[in-house]
């Protein structure tokens, strides 16, 4: 991950930037910066989705801790 933001936060930021740009009130130089930001965010979001491995699965044990769950998931 390139920064601390979650996928959801990045997606939200992306939506906000593009909505602002669409409103058409952004000065040209700022608009071009924002356009580039949005393109980078979109790329990061897509990569994050595509590169994610399997989910992390944890099972609550009797002693109240979590251990890796190795259920018959692929059975």
């Amino acid at each position: 991950m390139k920064n601390e933001k979650t996928f959801e936060e990045k997606l939200k930021e992306l939506e906000t930037i593009v909505s602002n740009l669409e409103s058409g009130d952004v000065p040209l130089d700022l608009a071009i910066n924002k356009f580039n930001d949005a393109m980078n965010l979109a790329k990061e979001c897509s990569e994050e989705l595509e590169q994610a491995n399997e989910t992390v699965n944890k099972l609550l044990t009797k002693d109240g801790n979590f251990e890796d769950f190795k259920g018959d998931v692929n059975a």
Partner: protein, 400 residues
């Protein structure tokens, strides 16, 4: 002689032999109502099964009785499976019960309806109480049996759709007498973690199998959960109290997983769309700026810069005209006043007075206007129309 006579023991043994050799009595399915129920300290259960017209003794030994998922009482309608044999010591026959279930589909249905109505009236199903299911959960709790189709379906479905989550599995009994307590306990434990959503459920089964999800304490635990809950019990046709109380009902565990997480393909498409919107938006901003520039370049003033001065020229001309007019009128005014003065001067000129026959007398070039200006022996110069007379004053007489 006495040989003809059997002992009681002998006949009872024979009768028992007959029972035990009858294949029809080796496994018997029986339904009836419990009466004379005795729960012996040894753990064995003794009772009578009856219907409207008839009754039969029944015994259920401890090893089978401990498997019961309900507490039988007098009046319970039950379904039993067992064999029928004779008890030699008492000379009676009875059913040796191996399994016993509440004959309760009808009863259970009534119970379900009763609880549903009650909870509905108490507001347990109110839409206003339902918590929203987050769109992008990071941590999902799963309360179900740790083995079986349900957990497998949930995990594989989530992995197929969206992998950016951690799954926390809280293994729970999902059927049997202890299931309700275990589910409540796991719901409470799960609420201690910062989960975004909980999937609570199990795979399909009979109404009895699903019954834990129709228990009031489970309904309470769901209602009081801090974390939103998706209920997914059984198949699509199965509705449980849990489904009504939960923040969202999913028809199956797989469907619950589909609801809990977004689909990666939808998301990627959505991001693509945003990219397209982004490109269109920046093009629009650029076009707008170009148009603005163009319209400034085409503005009337920039196209006809002369207009900037023409109006000023005209104004300047007006001012010059005005100035000329002002000066002319001032000069004319001055001229008039000069002529007036000349006239006045003409009128007042003493020469003219002399011309009319008057004279002016001076002493030492000073005009005499008063008798005090002159004394005896002064030389007096008198100007008249055609010359000047010089004379000497003989006498000065002041008028009275």
């Amino acid at each position: 002689m006495n040989d003809k006579y059997l002992t009681v023991t002998q006949i009872n043994k024979y009768i028992k032999y007959k029972f035990d050799n009858d294949v029809n009595l080796k496994i018997v399915y029986l339904k009836g109502e419990i009466s004379n129920f005795k729960d012996h300290t040894t753990g064995h259960l003794y009772f009578t099964l009856k219907d409207e017209k008839s009754r039969i003794l029944a015994v259920m030994f401890k090893n089978n009785a401990i498997k019961l998922n309900f507490t039988p009482t007098n009046g319970s309608k039950v379904l039993v499976v067992g064999r029928i044999s004779a008890y030699e010591a008492n000379g009676n026959y009875q059913i040796y019960v191996e399994e016993m279930l509440e004959d309760g589909i009808g009863n259970l249905y009534l119970e379900f309806e009763k609880l549903k109505k009650k909870l509905q009236q108490e507001g347990y199903f109110d839409q206003a109480h339902k918590k929203p299911i987050p769109k992008f959960p990071k941590k999902i709790g799963i309360i179900t049996a740790p083995t079986g189709a349900a957990i497998r379906d949930i995990i594989t479905t989530i992995n197929r759709r969206y992998k950016l989550v951690e799954l926390y599995i809280f293994p729970a009994l999902v059927q049997g007498e202890n299931a309700k307590n275990d589910i409540v306990e796991k719901l409470n434990i799960a609420n201690n973690y910062d989960l975004d959503v909980i999937i609570l459920g199990r795979g399909g089964g009979s109404i009895e199998d699903l019954w834990a999800f129709n228990e009031e304490i489970v309904a309470n635990a769901i209602y009081n959960s801090r974390i939103p809950i998706i209920s997914a019990v059984g198949h699509e046709i199965d509705y449980t109290i849990s489904d009504f109380v939960a923040d969202l009902r999913a028809p199956t565990p797989t469907a619950a997983a589909e609801i809990a997480v977004p689909n990666i393909i939808d998301l990627l498409n959505y991001i693509k769309q945003i990219e397209i919107r982004n490109s269109k938006a920046i093009l629009r901003v650029i076009n707008k700026n170009e148009e603005k520039l163009e319209s400034i370049k085409n503005s009337y003033i920039l196209k006809n810069p002369n207009n900037l001065y023409e109006a000023k020229y005209q104004k300047l001309d007006n001012l010059i005209d005005k100035l000329g007019f002002c000066i002319t009128s001032i000069l004319a005014d001055k001229n008039n006043r000069f002529l007036n003065c000349l006239n006045k001067l003409e009128t007042l000129n003493p020469i003219n007075t002399i011309k009319r026959g008057y004279s002016i007398s001076k002493v030492n070039d000073k005009v005499i206007t008063d008798i005090k200006d002159i004394k005896k022996d002064d030389v007096l110069k008198t100007e008249i129309k055609s010359g000047t007379i010089t004379s000497k004053v003989i006498e000065v007489e002041v008028s009275k």
